[in-house]
Each structure stands twice: as structure tokens, then as C-alpha cells.
């Protein structure tokens, strides 16, 4: 099932949660909505589910107007951030709920329902918990039951709101891989909301980066990481060195001193230079285009992370360099970005 969102606007009082959002989701895609809290990502998800109604704009499922139908008729599986399992029902009854409330005409027989629930519990590998109550489960188990419950109605679309938000780091990692392989298995068009960039980049086919009710960029994880479309995306995804610069006629200046890099010919005025930490090349003092003194070095994992206080303006930046050349505190170094981006403002 494809999803199309056209120019959706939603306000809560004076707060503009969504400010003209357009989005197309391909059939079978696994899409991440990524953004800081208050960026409107959950509101967008709830509008697609029918739990919230837009002030204006349109939503289509396979070209069919979804706003004609309420949440009940949309056949959308929704997994809530805090699971929202029915606390007075066993795991089995939770999963069976969607099948039991169907109109009598199309409702499955008790035997069929039992078989289907068993199948779903097997799918999420928790069939041994069928008789437990939600409060007897761990967070990760609850999340998987919530997913099984949503899948019971054979949803045309699966929506997940911060699916791993309430879990500890280790469980999150495991569930991420599990979600990706589950999606591969069931192949239902799925959208999940997250504020965790690592989660979005690792799990999704495409990532939608949102800020202040607007979409900043839509692209594959590689695209949003390597070619951020806006300053916000560059700053939000991955770790960046951010320096305020001045642009004029293609030249770039830092505190009045020209840098050995070029900007777009039409870039002018106050701008911001973004460089990934690992894209800053370290050389001997006097080389490169920026000079600085190493003030702190932390070595762990594949790289060493150094704090360098620039001679220009006394700004301190953090860089990641390979461990083949050990940096020392107090050492003067020359820096040159291998890759960089300049955004106006």
C-alpha cells in the first residue's frame, strides 16, 4: 500500500505542529520519521493512523482518500510508544482483540482466532507468554506483543510511535535488527517515528528528517548523512564541527581571515561551515588552513577524539582522527577539511 500526504497542516492552539507537509511512501517501504521532540513527527503519524485530524491537507492510501475513514476503518496497525496493552487482558486476549471485535459477518471462528493468535505469538517468538498479563512482561516483551496485536488485523500499513523509546540501550539494539528482519518477512508498508538518528539510519530504507512541523529532507540513510540538504539536517544527523563564517564572491572568511575553500558564487553574508568530525584532516603545524593547539585527547575504539582550540577566535572544536598518528596535548596542528558544507545563516 502506498501512502501520500499532501500539504497537511495541524495546529494545537497557537502551536503549529505540522506546517504544510508533503510525503510519499512507496509500497512495502520502511520509512523513519526523524526529528527532535516537537518537530511534528508523532502528529504526522497519528494523522496517517486517523487518531488525529489535519486542519487542512489530504491523505491518500493507494490513491484513495483516507480522511473519509476513521481510525477504525483504516486497517492501520498502530504500535504505541508506551505499548498501550490492555492491562486487564492476557497476552493472548490482547493479540486476539482485533479479531474478536470484527463485525459478526466477517469474524473468524474461535478455532481460527486461536490459530491466528498462536501464529502471531510464534512470529514475535513469545508464544510461551500467552497466559501472562502485560504487567508481568519486560519492556521488550511488551513491545513485541503490541506489535503482534497490531499485526493481527492484517494491517495495510504499520505505524510505530517511538517503538524503542522506552527500552534500555541493549534491548533497543536487539529489537532494531529484529524489526528490520520482521519487516522483510511481512513486507507491510511501515513508518516509524524516532528521535534517535542511529535507529533511523540503521533500520529504515528512507529517512524523513523533520523540524518545527516541516520536512527538512527525505532520503536514504546515506543521502541524509553524506549530503544534508539543510543546516538543521547537518547539525542533527551525525556529529559536526560548526563554524560561523562570512561568504562573499565565492570566498569564505573566518573572523576576517580567508579560508582555502570556496563557497557557491551566489552565497553571501553570514553563513555556517559544517565539517564532519572525521572529515577534518590533521597535519603538522603550518599546513592546512586552520591552526590550533590540542587541548585534550581521548583514545578509544577505532579513532582518537581530540579537542583543538583554534588560533582563530579561540573556538574549541572536536575532531576524530585515525589512531595511526597519536596526538599530544599542547601540540600545534594544522587542519583542513576533506569535505565540508556551507549553509547560509
Amino acid at each position: 500500500m502506498t501512502i501520500e500526504v499532501r500539504n497537511v497542516v495541524k495546529t494545537f492552539g497557537a502551536f503549529k505542529a505540522l506546517d504544510g507537509v508533503d510525503l510519499k511512501v512507496a509500497d512495502g517501504e520502511l520509512l523513519a520519521l526523524l526529528g527532535p521532540s516537537g518537530s511534528g513527527k508523532t502528529t504526522l503519524l497519528r494523522i496517517i493512523a486517523g487518531l488525529e485530524w489535519p486542519d487542512s491537507g489530504e491523505v491518500f492510501f493507494d490513491g484513495e482518500n483516507a480522511l473519509d475513514r476513521g481510525a477504525r476503518e483504516r486497517q492501520v496497525g498502530f504500535v504505541f510508544q508506551h505499548y498501550a496493552l490492555f492491562r486487564h487482558m492476557t497476552v493472548f486476549e490482547n493479540v486476539a482483540f482485533g479479531l474478536r471485535v470484527q463485525p459478526r459477518k466477517i469474524r473468524k471462528s474461535e478455532t481460527e482466532i486461536r490459530a491466528r493468535v498462536k501464529e502471531l505469538l510464534d512470529l514475535v517468538q513469545l508464544d510461551w507468554l500467552a497466559d501472562r498479563y502485560p504487567n508481568q512482561l519486560s519492556g521488550g516483551q511488551r513491545q513485541r506483543i503490541a506489535l503482534a496485536r497490531a499485526l493481527a488485523i492484517e494491517p495495510r500499513i504499520l505505524l510505530l510511535d517511538e517503538p524503542f523509546g522506552a527500552l534500555d540501550a541493549k534491548v533497543r539494539k536487539e529489537l532494531r535488527q529484529w524489526l528490520r528482519s520482521l519487516h522483510h518477512e511481512i513486507n507491510v508498508t511501515s513508518i516509524f517515528v524516532t528521535h534517535d538518528q542511529e535507529e533511523a539510519l540503521e533500520v529504515a530504507h528512507r529517512v524523513v528528517v523533520m523540524d518545527k512541523g516541516k520536512i527538512e529532507q527525505i532520503g536514504t540513510p546515506g543521502e541524509v548523512y553524506d549530503s544534508p540538504a539543510t543546516a538543521f539536517v547537518h547539525g542533527f544527523i551525525g556529529e559536526s564541527i560548526v563554524l560561523p563564517v562570512e561568504c562573499a564572491d565565492g570566498a569564505v572568511r573566518l573572523n576576517g581571515r580567508p579560508l582555502d575553500i570556496s563557497a557557491d558564487a551566489n552565497a553571501a553574508g553570514a553563513s555556517t561551515l559544517f565539517v564532519r568530525r572525521h572529515d577534518m584532516q590533521v597535519g603538522p603545524a603550518g599546513s592546512g588552513m586552520l591552526q590550533g593547539a590540542v587541548t585534550h585527547v581521548r583514545s578509544f575504539g577505532a579513532v582518537q577524539r581530540a579537542e583543538v582550540t583554534l588560533s582563530e577566535g579561540k573556538t574549541t572544536i572536536e575532531i576524530d582522527t585515525p589512531r595511526d598518528h597519536d596526538l599530544r596535548v599542547g601540540e600545534m596542528v594544522g587542519l583542513k577539511p576533506r569535505r565540508y558544507r556551507i549553509f547560509a545563516g
Binding site: L51, E73, Q75, F78, F80, F97, V101, Q102, N135, A150
Partner: protein, 298 residues
């Protein structure tokens, strides 16, 4: 107000007891503790236990035979019947109104919500006598609807409908007040989940919302019933005190007492006291269930 459950009460007692057992330095000296506990026991004995014992002592002062003669009197039986009927109707109505009001307030956002919450509390803040007088002003011979009602041969005041109305009004807040905080705390996510799974509004209510609040509903009904059966002020104003017809149990107790029929008066009072005791026990049991419900998710 009786409705505010002291949820922290039982929880805070336990650690305190445990601390005392370990000679907590913060604990009061033994002498102080004995004095305080003695004072509390004396106070409770004089103001709570003693009156209760006296009610039963007076009721049985002239023997078991006199006690049951007092209860078996036709006026007494009529009062008991009337009280049960009035309580059944007002509890039923308030259960319905309370559920609807709490559902609306806890699960939806709408204009005038604060006003509605204030209105629900109104019967608690108005003296019951005033509540009764309001119905006299509305349905009395000189009242707002009086002439119209007279021309249609409808009798509200000094009759069963008036008593039921006044009682329902006075006990209106109990169910709603027991449910609103509970439902607000539970939020709307389970309902949203139910609807996204294809449940209708009614299915959502009966399969998800109601099971989650059932102990709260029972709690509200229990308190509502206790108050409905014991209501004096409002009922006294609208009842007209017609013997064998419009006297509820509390009204009959007063009448009998004023006529120096102490055994009969206390016999009926003992029934009300018994109701209070049963209510108290049931309330304790329900509170345990409610607290368990709260702790489930944590």
C-alpha cells in the same frame, strides 16, 4: 471530604513501622509515643466506638423481642422499603450520569470542561437543606413548575418522586468523583489502540474502558449508596413526613426518638449503623483492589 482516597496512607505506614523496629534515631521517645497513642485511642473510643456501641445497646435495651417488634412495625417496614427503593433509583441514575460525565471529562477535550467539573461538585458544597429547598421552589404549590404540575395532577413534593430527586441530587458527585482521577490517570491510549484495532465506540467502552475502572465504579457506588440511605437534610425538606408513606429510615429515627420510642428509634438506627460498618469493610477491600490496579504498571 470522604471521597479523597488516602492512597499514600497505607504506603507510608509500612516504612514507619519498619523503621521503629530497627530503633530508628528519628523515632520519638517511648514515653511520647505511648502518650500520643493513648490520646488517639481515647479520642476514637469516645467519639467513634462508644456511640456505635450505644446505638446497639439502646436498640437491645428491652430485649431482642422489643428490637424485632420495633423493626417489624408497619411504619418501620414502610420506611425501610422506601429507603431501599430511593437508594436503588438514585444510585442507578448516578451510576449512569457519573460514568458518562467521567468518560467525557477524562477522555475528551471540550470547551466548558472546568465548568462541568465545578458543577459536578456543586451538591457537595451546598448544604443538603438548601438542596431540598431548591426542589420546593421548583415543584412546590407556589413554585416554578407548581401550577403546571397541579393542573396535570402530578405530585413531586411530599411524595416519592421528590425524595428520589433530592437524594439523587445530593449524591450526584460520588460516582463521577471516584472515576475522574482514575480515568485521567489511565489516559486514552488503550482506547486509541482499541479503535485502531477496529473496535466500535461501544465495544471500546465495554471491553476496554469499563474493565479498567470496575473497582472505581464499585467504590463510587458504595459511597453513593451509603449516603443515599443515610441522607437526612434534603429529604427532610421535601418529604412532608407522611407516616407510613414518605418517611425514610433517617426521618423515622428522628420521629420515633422525639416520641420517646427509644427502642424502635435505635433499632432502625442500628440498621443504618450496620450499613455503615458493611460499607467501611467493603470500602477497605475495594481500596486494596484500586491500589493494586495502580501498581500494576509500575
Amino acid at each position: 471530604m470522604t471521597l479523597q482516597r488516602t492512597r499514600t496512607g497505607s504506603a507510608s505506614k509500612r516504612p514507619a513501622a519498619a523503621q521503629a523496629a530497627h530503633h530508628d534515631p528519628r523515632a520519638e521517645p517511648k514515653a511520647v509515643r505511648i502518650v500520643i497513642i493513648t490520646l488517639a485511642v481515647i479520642f476514637l473510643s469516645v467519639f467513634v466506638v462508644l456511640p456505635l456501641v450505644l446505638v446497639f445497646a439502646e436498640a437491645f435495651a428491652k430485649g431482642v423481642g422489643a428490637y424485632f417488634a420495633g423493626l417489624g412495625d408497619s411504619e418501620a417496614l414502610s420506611a425501610i422499603r422506601l429507603t431501599l427503593l430511593v437508594a436503588a433509583i438514585s444510585v442507578g441514575l448516578n451510576l449512569l450520569f457519573g460514568l458518562i460525565a467521567a468518560w467525557a471529562i477524562a477522555k475528551f477535550e471540550f470547551a466548558g470542561k472546568t465548568l462541568l467539573i465545578t458543577l459536578i461538585d456543586l451538591p457537595f458544597s451546598v448544604s443538603p437543606v438548601i438542596s431540598g429547598l431548591v426542589f420546593v421552589l421548583l415543584f412546590g404549590a407556589q413554585g416554578f413548575f407548581g401550577p403546571w404540575m397541579q393542573s396535570h395532577q402530578l405530585q413531586v413534593l411530599f411524595a416519592f418522586p421528590g425524595i428520589a430527586l433530592a437524594t439523587t441530587f445530593v449524591t450526584f458527585p460520588f460516582v463521577a468523583r471516584a472515576l475522574i482521577p482514575l480515568m485521567q490517570e489511565q489516559g486514552t491510549q488503550e482506547e486509541e489502540a482499541a479503535i485502531s484495532l477496529g473496535a466500535s465506540g461501544l465495544q471500546t467502552f465495554f471491553r476496554v474502558t469499563l474493565p479498567n475502572i470496575k473497582w472505581g465504579v464499585l467504590y463510587g457506588v458504595l459511597l453513593c449508596n451509603a449516603r443515599a440511605m443515610g441522607e437526612f437534610g434534603a429529604v427532610s425538606v421535601v418529604s412532608g413526613h407522611i407516616r407510613g408513606e414518605t418517611n425514610t429510615m433517617p426521618l423515622l429515627v428522628e420521629i420515633l426518638y422525639n416520641e420517646y420510642q427509644f427502642v424502635a428509634a435505635f433499632a432502625i438506627a442500628s440498621l443504618l449503623a450496620l450499613l455503615a460498618l458493611i460499607t467501611l469493610v467493603a470500602k477497605t477491600v475495594l481500596e486494596r483492589h484500586l491500589d493494586e490496579g495502580d501498581n500494576r504498571d509500575h
